[in-house]
């Protein structure tokens, strides 16, 4: 019978593969097994500030459906007036329900995950040289950007983002050998001037 033959062929295949696997592990036994608990932690910028001050600006400036509110963008932005995060129960529709917490979090993650190592470096140096970040290089047009220049160093939106990145979120550990995350309640707040800039930036254009 067909079903039977194909199944036994499959079994045979697995057996062969298994044999090869055994052979391979046998001959390379000097390699240490991978440690699946090991990972590189990303030093992350402050979420609370992002959520309240930065996300509304980035959504408005960058998140329209014809720009970063698109599945084709590596840096993807969700929100009320653009692309909605898929959620079976909520059935979010563009322009209908307000932006959800999940969407803001996804936006934050997209901004951080764009260049995790570079973001870590930036956090470790408390926001020094923010223009190394792709997130700013592109809109400043220091690098090719399909959407053209979308920020300039003297506009409120740029300053809002940079002020957010300057908020210290990590500090050296007591032994000075590593970094530890500063608990949220101990973090500094966004300066008043920066807050005003974030608000000003939201009214764009």
């Amino acid at each position: 019978m067909f079903a039977l033959t194909s199944r036994s062929a499959l079994l045979l295949g697995i057996a062969v593969l298994g044999g090869m696997g055994a052979l391979v592990t046998g001959s390379t036994s000097c390699a240490s097994p991978p440690d699946n608990k090991r990972y590189t932690e990303i030093l992350q910028p402050d979420y609370a500030t992002y959520r309240t001050y930065v996300d509304p600006y980035l959504q408005r400036r960058c998140g329209t459906l014809d720009c970063h509110g698109q599945p084709g963008r590596a840096y993807r932005i969700y929100g009320f007036a653009g692309f909605r995060l898929y959620n079976v129960d909520a059935g979010l529709v563009s322009g209908q329900q307000p932006t959800t917490e999940d969407e803001v979090l996804a936006n934050y993650q997209a901004a951080v995950a764009l260049e995790p190592e570079e973001m870590s470096r930036l956090m470790a140096t408390q926001g020094a040289e923010p223009n190394k970040l792709l997130l700013l290089r592109k809109p400043l047009k220091l690098e090719r950007h399909k959407g053209g220049p979308a920020m300039s160093e003297d506009d409120a939106g740029y300053r809002c983002v940079v002020a957010w990145l300057r908020i210290r979120t990590v500090r050296p550990t007591a032994d000075g050998l590593d970094f530890e995350t500063i608990p949220e309640q101990e973090r500094e707040q966004l300066p008043v001037l920066a807050r005003q800039r974030c608000e000003e930036a939201q009214s764009f254009p």
Binding site: T64, G91, S94, P205
Partner: protein, 231 residues
């Protein structure tokens, strides 16, 4: 044809991505077949060509073909671009509807107002099929992003008091066709649906606003300029 495939049932519950993926897949296949069989657009960009062909042929029974009345609800500037197939290039174009669902109820003489990034204000008027379009030479310095609003007055050209006005809260980042975002017959996670003056078809019906034939009857007044542009 896109709008038949996208036929939207107002009462149907939002079924989410799987259905759409399916529909979009079908659409893509349809587009490819169209390319293979007609090959109407001679542009070499396969993505552009597929999108154009995906819109299907002109429908002579619905509107005068290849005229300012044609293809209401479709992304005008997809074709009216340097990539073709149309010769004329538009920097903006779209269609305004009365309600959220009815494809056949479109707004004549609506004022589409644009505020661009240079704070330049311009206003354009829709025709009897709800279409408006802006040629490159008519707004050559247009600078994105844009803010937009749509107003319909009580009796355009005569009584210019507001009947209804709607403002898009977000802006247009770079897209010249309203319909690229406002996909006709589709309200979902990536489209707010057709541009509408009322939130429900019922609300529109209750107003007893007459629909205009298009091309229009002789006594129809096509407003050429928005009130603020009439000296």
């Amino acid at each position: 044809m896109r709008r038949t495939i996208y036929q939207h049932d107002a009462n149907a519950k939002h079924e989410g991505a799987p259905r759409l993926a399916w529909v979009r897949g079908l659409l893509a296949v349809g587009a490819c077949v169209a390319v293979a069989s007609i090959g109407s657009s001679c542009n070499l960009d396969p993505v552009h060509r597929a999108s154009v062909n995906g819109l299907g042929p002109e429908e002579a029974d619905l509107y005068p073909v290849e005229s300012e009345y044609h293809r209401p609800g479709e992304p005008c500037a997809l074709c009216h671009s340097t990539k073709g197939p149309a010769d004329s290039v538009f920097v903006l174009g779209g269609t305004v509807f009365w309600g959220p669902d009815d494809y056949n109820a479109r707004v004549d003489n609506a004022y589409v107002r644009i505020l661009d990034a240079n704070k330049t204000k311009r206003c354009f008027v829709t025709n009897c099929n709800g279409n408006f379009y802006v040629r490159k030479e008519d707004f050559s310095k247009i600078t994105f992003p844009l803010l937009v609003s749509v107003e319909r007055t009580v009796k355009p050209g005569q009584d210019e008091s507001t009947l209804v006005i709607r403002r898009m809260s977000s802006h247009i980042g770079r897209e010249a066709s309203c319909a690229t975002c406002h996909i006709q017959g589709l309200r979902d996670f990536a489209s707010p649906g057709q541009i509408r003056m009322f939130n429900s078809e019922q609300e529109f019906k209750d107003k007893n606003i007459p629909l205009i034939d298009c091309p229009p009857p002789e006594d129809f007044v096509q407003v050429q300029k928005c009130p603020e542009d009439v000296n």
